[in-house]
Symmetry: C2
Subunit: 475 residues, 2 copies
Amino acid sequence: MAEKITPRDVDYSQWYVDIVLRAQLADYSPVKGCMVIRPRGYAVWERMRTVLDAMFKETGHQNAYFPLLIPESFIRREAEHVEGFSPELAVVTHAGGEDLEEPLVIRPTSETIIWSMYKKWIQSYRDLPILINQWANVLRWEKRTRLFLRTTEFLWQEGHTAHETAEEARDETLTILEIYRKFAEEYLAMPVLSGKKSEQEKFAGAVDTYAIEAMMQDKRALQAGTSHFLGQNFAKAFDVTYQNRDGRLDLVWASSWGVSTRLIGAIIMTHSDDRGLVLPPKIAPTAAVIVPIFKNDTRSKVLDYAEKVRRSLSEVDAVMDTDEQNSPGWRFAEWEMRGVPVRVEIGPRDVEAEQVVLVRRDTGEKLTVPAGAAPGKVAELLEEIQRALFDRARDFRDENTVRLDDYAAFREFFADAGGFGVSPWCGGEECENTIKDDTKATIRVLENDAPRGEAGSCVVCGKPGTYRAVFARAY
Amino acid sequence: MAEKITPRDVDYSQWYVDIVLRAQLADYSPVKGCMVIRPRGYAVWERMRTVLDAMFKETGHQNAYFPLLIPESFIRREAEHVEGFSPELAVVTHAGGEDLEEPLVIRPTSETIIWSMYKKWIQSYRDLPILINQWANVLRWEKRTRLFLRTTEFLWQEGHTAHETAEEARDETLTILEIYRKFAEEYLAMPVLSGKKSEQEKFAGAVDTYAIEAMMQDKRALQAGTSHFLGQNFAKAFDVTYQNRDGRLDLVWASSWGVSTRLIGAIIMTHSDDRGLVLPPKIAPTAAVIVPIFKNDTRSKVLDYAEKVRRSLSEVDAVMDTDEQNSPGWRFAEWEMRGVPVRVEIGPRDVEAEQVVLVRRDTGEKLTVPAGAAPGKVAELLEEIQRALFDRARDFRDENTVRLDDYAAFREFFADAGGFGVSPWCGGEECENTIKDDTKATIRVLENDAPRGEAGSCVVCGKPGTYRAVFARAY
């Protein structure tokens, strides 16, 4: 620990991996593509889950739990769904000492198993809406994996709702998109664009997919959450009808939506620096660390005082550094590596002067305050850091977002450092593919949901653009 | 809903299933042996998890997450472990469109994958203890399943700790056993015996297994939680050594422990009655329901008043019954089926008299109190119900626990209604098997951990009994 990590400008990918491993957020496991989420990483996930779960419950959602294993035939029932997920499935062929008659797949997502249950539970409009969320593990067999950002197994929440009308299901889709935006911006201090995906980028089985997209420090985009309007696709596949208010049978309308442990990767890549992890205070398991510094003759004096300060900070999640082996410099570096937002330094002179030294993790700024003022000042600093992290990330994104109406400039932008390129797009898959082939950039979100005339001329073909699209290279 | 359920004395098993399905706690799924935990059942699990998680954290444990899939060879490394779990494994042989070189099993428990990681993380005594818990799904391919009590997939927590000394690991094992006992008795209102298992009944891979055992209303035992002292078995299997305080290499000592969604089955079978679910208030997602009763001309008067009462009950989790379709009797029966501890009835006459009628779910007892006294009285009733449920269950268990020193009486006891039979036992597997063959009763816990002389003469062979053992037929 407290070894140096690779600086971002030397090797951005290695910098990321160094932080995950050295801050002990996660570790590689013996199973290809699967990671172990270590206690410090899991504590961040617990914070996220607590906040999101409360937001879901406030909007009328309930949690439930559906089986991990899905009959293979279920996945095949929705044509686009099977096409999207088939290459990624892990299949159980053998169980309890026998070959299975029908193979079972480990859920890559739970639409199919859940809609097979909704068929049992939904008879009439009185049974609707169903607003169910599940916290679970899912598995997608990925060729190339990266800790948190893309792992074979990951933890997530998946909401699956059933409604009487298309309008209600669309409203639900957008309500959740807004919850995701709010959560990302207000808790993760991560500015996001939210909007619809192109046909090509949407979820396999959705009518429309909406997403929140953030910009990482290497200017690449990261999809941080998705909310899908599923139309009646899964109701058709599983024959889920209900008796409507006029007494006729209708197919049920649906949405599904999710965020995952990928968010931990997103906050690392948004906020951290060459000294290690930087965590937004609202999601940091430890808000402040008290580091007492002493020699033998000042030990008890400093420790007694530090303990008093710790008790005065009981309102925030403050911990005491009890390390007596290593130098102060080593210990400071260690707590910086772990991303604790505020460090409280206490030495013999601080005891004399009845003061403490507060150090911000984000800026390194130091300030000395009277011990009595510490609780108020720490709380204030935590709020300031939360705000400053968001502002810095938003400024960075805005500086690296460019309107590009000309294809030569577009290609140059992505040949260079890149970022978010906002361009008119005709809506054609051909132009989308041309861009992908030429620049590796994909459409992250559309600025406007529906085609409209005034978007300009398509940056590739010059035909009237019906959308303005945000292009970027993405994780 | 509100259909009658099968009475216990007609068909106890069917009574149990009726409650699970009609109270919408869980449902059968299309995957053999796997259940769906519906929102009302999951809310109970969330309550349990919140309480237990806090108890674990207070005693220094942290949560983490390890992979679902385990290389098949790992399971084979500990001889007893593989023997115990092999018949129950589900095996992934195919993933990402290819056959796997080494099959992966879905975790039946995580000792092996976790100890493969501990090998990476443990070098010196400074890395110990490790006190990690995981909330996860596990899978054991069961031939005969029963909702909540025995399902192929279930949710649980599994603690896995690593220590410098045997004594520390044993202390941990017993600390957790005591947490389980306290949780069962104080929160689930379920009296338990806690103690060591016989060699035959212990966990595959443990040196010693301890358990908490409860008596269900059909007088059968249910193992509600286990805590294992693993010795150095997994440290040996995964070669996990540490440099001790004397600078020498030593094998690490271990414990593991868990409780599962089986606990939901346990509380149903402990407390419920022929009218449906009965939940201990401390674990009930809804503590009280307000049922307004009115005709057209009294509707707004009653509803306004009921809403005022609801607001006055904001300290407890109170909900309003908004059903205007069904009769009061039907609605009362419905809330009884769901197990809500207190019903608050409000009719036009109660509005006039500024009173409410409170009905206890456990006894059906009604009492009329002034509206202003309702919050205090409801809180008091919840405490009384919690205590009464525990007392009733403990009395029932004690009435059905018999000391049996004679084998003829022992056989008669189990040929008849059975219960807990407490008998001297020589410690021999042969006598244990004789009892199992003759009566289907197994040793649930030993009253004394270590052999001792004064336990009497073995109930089967008459040799000096070294243990007093609690025998019962079990779930």
